[in-house]
């Protein structure tokens, strides 16, 4: 009777499956413990594919940066003085575009805003959460001015977080800009004084 039962007993398979499952869980545990022993963090995976954000004027970063070689900080002038990089005031645009390329439709769009004394309603692309205290000025000081990095090449530094804007028209987010992204860089650059203190960034 016993022999017969064993032959027809399908439950035995579940025992084996259960055992295999537990083994798998155990391996997972061991491997994650091994990772925990080694790493403070794991790098965030992949790059970020940003959404296309429609802007009131399709501003061509590539024309300005690549073709004309204008420094990032010429327009985003607050970057070295404030925590935000800032959008240039319309007057700054008009400084050049009163004479340059006035026939182009985008410039005419801009001129219209200028004449109406209305700033264009730009949309924010690179947005860190509101509970984050991020300052452009300190990053620029550490990464550019204190290192005596040539200021004319500042776009390489900007590209750490903003990607290669010289190849974009309107900005597109290409880095995840999440906590893992920040933390990884801060851990790597401890020697530059990158703080590891939570309250440096969380407000």
């Amino acid at each position: 009777m016993a022999v017969k039962n064993r032959l027809i007993n399908p439950g035995a398979g579940f025992a084996r499956a259960g055992f295999a499952g537990m083994l798998f869980l155990a391996m997972l545990l061991v491997s994650s413990m091994a990772m925990a022993a080694k790493y403070d963090v794991v790098p965030p995976s992949g790059t970020h594919k940003g959404e296309d954000v429609p802007q009131p004027i399709e501003f061509p970063h590539n024309t300005h940066v690549k073709d004309n070689g204008i420094n990032c900080m010429y327009c985003h002038t607050y970057a070295r003085r404030s925590k935000v990089a800032g959008i240039p005031p319309t007057s700054k645009c008009m400084g050049c575009h009163k004479v340059i390329a006035t026939d182009k439709p985008r410039i005419q769009q801009l001129t219209k805003y200028w004449e109406d004394k209305e700033p264009p309603p730009w949309k924010k692309v690179h947005d860190v959460p509101d509970f984050v205290h991020f300052t452009h000025e300190k990053h620029l000081k550490t990464l550019v001015f204190d290192r005596e990095f040539p200021v004319e090449d500042v776009k390489e530094v900007c590209a750490f977080c903003h990607g290669e804007l010289e190849n974009m028209t309107v900005a597109n987010k290409v880095k995840p800009l999440n906590m893992g992204f920040c933390v990884n860089c801060h851990i790597k650059n401890k020697d530059l004084g990158a703080p590891g203190d939570c309250w440096k960034c969380h407000k």
């Binding site: 205290h133 000081k141 939570c198 969380h202």
Partner: protein, 280 residues
């Protein structure tokens, strides 16, 4: 906090606060509050509401004990045996004491509250999961919990425009407390960093100290020997560290400086100066 990290810095982690803790402090912010000058007027408390986006909870919730006043003025009646309180009231501005050996820190399961290199008890709102153990373990009862979501009720349009963008608005389920106005500290430190200079004494003024009409609150860095607050602590022979150490430090027991619940060995960063009364 990887295992490697823990093992490599084991000797630092295992050190107690009395041996300097596991920090190389950059600053140790502290206060000295002269209770003889405190008139209990609530200016500091209201300034704190304005600076730190504190929610107004309303009558019912306040009476339930769910108020969010990071800085509260406690009022005690001494001489209870007399028919009238002949020496007036005893006012005590009470806020987070930013203890050096804080009891709130070790009990947080997710390390949302921890000690910063500035000597502050940080509270990272985003990390908080709302277990509320920190508040239970605080002898001063100065941690306040968002029992409700206040964003809409406390700041009806257009009041939300007053909110300070330098500090988060906490949503329900998050613990919060006095930060010594860390956003002001942060701003000043950033400024000093940009100018390649150390932070000056008197540069950081928390909202409460700024408002106090009698200037009863002095704020500063006790690691800066020349700071006003260092001098006051020294003058009153109050030293950082636990009871055994501070008791011996205080050679003149008549000096007015003391820290509340000194016997609990939590090493508060706030020194109070006793109230003075002339007996006539």
């Amino acid at each position: 906090m990887s295992l490697d990290n823990i093992l490599n810095h084991w000797s630092d982690y295992r050190k107690g606060s009395e041996e300097g803790g596991h920090h190389d402090y950059e600053h140790r912010w502290a206060m000295a509050i002269n209770l003889d000058l405190c008139i209990g007027c609530n200016a500091c408390s209201t300034a704190c509401y304005a600076e730190n986006n504190l929610a107004v909870v309303g009558k019912e919730r306040f009476e339930k004990g769910q108020a969010m006043h990071w800085m509260r003025i406690e009022r005690y009646w001494d001489q209870q045996e007399l028919e009238h309180p002949e020496q007036g009231a005893s006012f005590l501005p009470m806020m987070c004491q930013q203890c050096g050996a804080a009891t709130c820190e070790p009990v947080c399961p997710v390390a949302a509250t921890y000690h910063t290199p500035d000597g502050l008890n940080a509270q990272v709102y985003n990390r908080c999961i709302g277990s509320r153990y920190c508040s239970n373990n605080c002898p001063f009862r100065v941690r306040y919990f968002n029992f409700y979501s206040y964003y809409e009720s406390a700041w009806p349009e257009p009041m939300e425009q007053q909110l300070n963008p330098d500090i988060s608005v906490r949503d329900k389920g998050v613990m919060e407390k006095c930060t010594f106005c860390v956003q002001r500290i942060r701003t000043v430190k950033d400024k000093a960093f940009m100018e390649d200079r150390p932070v000056q004494d008197g540069e950081v003024v928390p909202a409460c100290a700024q408002a106090c009409p009698t200037s009863a609150i002095v704020f500063g860095d006790t690691m800066d020997e020349g700071s006003m607050v260092s001098k006051l602590w020294k003058k009153h022979q109050v030293e950082r560290g636990v009871y055994q150490k501070t008791r011996h430090a205080k050679k003149n027991a008549d000096l007015r400086g003391y820290r509340i619940f000194e016997d609990l060995n939590v090493d508060p960063s706030v020194m109070y100066l006793e109230r003075v009364r002339e007996d006539i």
